[in-house]
């Protein structure tokens, strides 16, 4: 599903250049649930941003589902993101003046679906995460776990090839974290490829593979016997 070869990325900080990713080689098969671990500054978020086409790579190659991701301009990146990727963020990133349902319909709106189809699809995904009754509620009326579930529904609604989650449980207590991870595992079980950036060992252990980054290189990449979240 994902093929990365010799990926380099550095940031210019004034006159200094900060080499963040120093030659990453990394393949993900379809249906894997991968945890990317590392301390802060290890480059794990940068890797996720490049995978999410929110950031550009300096050198190397990136292939997603057989499509080479290169020569990205903003419009092309936006279309790829919309078509291939679903995002889940630590801080949920729901639009606060839109209801749960409207938030879920947003990627479908950018896909150009008709209103009726959008709402039907969104409602189905909200139902999948168990929040059908909360469809007309604003994010401010939802708990952290509920918000993250809405965000997951939103990420899934556009039927992405890969789900990218950046510290999805970082803002949640351990009980809610487990519930959210259970949901992610359930989605993974249905065949979706998922990448999770985390620094929590517990969370990583709930994944089928753990990749450890340190100082911009992969230190360890091993299969993991997935622990069920609940």
């Amino acid at each position: 599903m994902i093929k990365i070869k010799d990926l380099h990325k550095s940031y210019k900080m004034g006159s200094n250049s900060l080499h963040v990713l120093k030659g990453i080689n990394f393949d993900v098969e379809e249906g894997e649930l991968v945890a990317i671990m590392g301390s802060s500054g290890s480059g794990k978020s940068t890797l996720l941003n490049i995978l999410g086409m929110l950031d550009l790579l300096d050198s190397g190659s990136y292939e997603l589902d057989g499509v080479p991701i290169k020569d990205l301009d903003e419009t092309k990146a936006a279309n790829y993101r919309n078509k291939f990727l679903g995002f889940v963020f630590q801080s949920f990133n729901l639009i606060n003046y839109k209801t749960a349902l409207e938030n879920v319909t947003l990627p479908l709106y950018y896909q150009g679906l008709k209103r009726k189809d959008r709402e039907e699809t969104a409602l189905k995904y909200l139902d999948d995460v168990g929040l059908k009754e909360w469809a007309t509620h604003l994010p401010s009326e939802l708990s952290g776990g509920q918000k993250q579930r809405v965000a997951i529904a939103r990420a899934m609604a556009s039927k992405p090839k890969v789900l990218l989650a950046d510290e999805p449980t970082g803002a949640l207590d351990s009980k809610t974290s487990k519930e959210v991870m259970a949901l992610i595992q359930q989605i993974n079980k249905s065949g979706k490829t998922i990448l999770i950036v985390t620094h929590e060992e517990d969370i990583a252990k709930m994944c089928s593979r753990i990749v450890r980054l340190k100082d911009g290189v992969i230190m360890e990449d091993k299969k993991n016997k997935m622990i069920s979240a609940i």
Partner: protein, 421 residues
């Protein structure tokens, strides 16, 4: 363009506008005020314009008064300070020599310029009124109306020196009973009986005259007041398409020649060019219209800049939201057009409300001034093309000003926007 007619686009726009209701309303007031000022000012100056036109309608707008005074320069053996008397024979000379004269009405008057008026008696009622000796041409120049059932002085009145008269509205009120028809009745002017043939409705124009004036045939006047061939003043109408100032000049030059006055004597022959006054007044009104246009446009401009400013702040505040949208697949052009459409929508909505409010104010002014005939203010309106022009101008401005925040929104990198807390 497709996006413009997409219901969902508007849904998105309403969503984000609703989110900041107070701020949106305050912003809109800026533009609303601009167009409101423009409509009110433009309508008011149009009302003034119409009012002036109405004030001048009683007199042909290219009419000229000419009268004689004392010379200021010696000439051809005559000393200065010589009194000049206009003569009836001047009419033919003027008609022959000056191009562009439509009508000349020689007029004599008793009761203005310090002379005694006519003392009028009817039964027990008496009064003193100004008496004018008139030719039929007068009514063609001064467009005073004669009430139904009556007539003005005609050629045969002059020819037979008839003792007929046209009285004013006030004269009628003061000499006749309320329900009495004055036509055909007799009044005594300086102890001579005159038959009333008409009543004129006086409309304030330029110069003198009032609603009590009595008009009698020129020839009759001559006999009663013993004025011979003398004429007090000429009232002249120039042809519609000629330069009134030129005609006035030539008339004066001709009269100076006839009466042996120094060509440079500015005092002996005096004139009052109503057309010129009319033109100047209309220029003043046009100036006001222009001023209202400038004030209106600059106020609209200020308002629209306010919208741009608010949208810039709004974009800044919504950095994260824009980042989320971008991450979910919004293309730069989608983000851009949303911001621009918000700007255009706010501007247009504010504009339409401003136009409606302005119209109400004009309606109110109209209702308040409709009965004030002395006040030069009639029918304040703004022509539809001006209104549409203003609206179009605002839409263009709204688009242009929207480009700035839209560009700002597009320049935000989704990754930076998402990082922002």
């Amino acid at each position: 363009m497709k996006r413009l007619f997409d219901k969902d686009t508007w849904q998105e726009i309403f969503g984000s506008i609703k989110k900041n209701r107070t701020r949106t309303i305050i912003t809109m007031i800026g533009v609303l005020w601009g167009i409101f000022i423009y409509i009110t000012l433009a309508g008011s100056s149009k009302g003034l314009d119409n009012g002036f036109e109405r004030a001048f309608q009683s007199i042909a707008s290219n009419s000229i008064f000419v009268w004689a005074q004392y010379t200021s320069l010696p000439y051809a053996g005559y000393k200065a300070e010589r009194g000049i008397q206009l003569k009836l024979s001047d009419v033919d000379v003027l008609k022959k020599r000056v191009q562009g004269i439509k009508f000349i009405a020689p007029r004599n008057v008793a009761g203005v310029f310090g002379s005694a008026g006519g003392s009028i008696v009817r039964g027990t009622k008496t009064g003193t009124y100004s008496i004018y000796g008139e030719y039929p041409e007068y009514i063609k120049i001064a467009t005073s109306k004669i009430y139904d059932g009556g007539r003005f002085i005609n050629e045969s009145d002059i020819k037979y020196e008839r003792k007929v008269c046209v009285i004013g509205e006030r004269t009628q009120l003061e000499l006749f009973e309320e329900d009495e028809d004055p036509i055909g009745k007799f009044i005594s002017i300086n102890k001579m009986n005159f038959r009333v043939v008409g009543v004129h409705k006086f409309v304030q124009g330029g110069g003198f005259g009032d609603d009590g004036d009595i008009y009698i045939p020129f020839a009759t006047f001559k006999k009663i007041f013993n004025t011979g061939e003398n004429v007090n003043f000429f009232m002249i109408a120039a042809d519609e398409n000629v330069n009134g100032v030129r005609v006035e000049k030539e008339i004066k030059a001709t009269l100076k020649e006839i009466h042996k006055i120094h060509p440079d004597d500015e005092r002996a022959i005096a004139g009052f060019n109503l057309g010129e006054v009319f033109r100047k007044t209309m220029n003043f009104a046009n100036g006001l219209t222009f001023l209202s246009l400038v004030v209106g446009i600059t106020t609209i401009l200020a308002g629209v800049i306010g919208i741009g400013n608010i949208l810039l702040i709004s974009v800044k505040e919504r950095t994260k939201e824009i980042g989320i949208r971008r991450a979910l697949g919004a293309t730069p052009s989608e983000v851009r057009s949303q911001i621009i459409l918000e700007s255009v929508f706010l501007t247009t909505l504010a504009g339409v409300i401003g136009i409606i409010l302005g119209s109400f104010v004009l309606y109110g002014i109209n209702a308040a001034t409709i009965d004030m005939t002395d006040f030069p203010y009639t029918n304040p309106t703004v022509p539809i093309p001006y209104v549409l022009g203003a609206l179009g101008f605002m839409i263009i401005l709204g688009t242009l000003i929207g480009i700035i925040p839209a560009q700002r929104a597009v320049s935000i990198k989704p990754i930076d926007a998402l990082r922002e807390e």
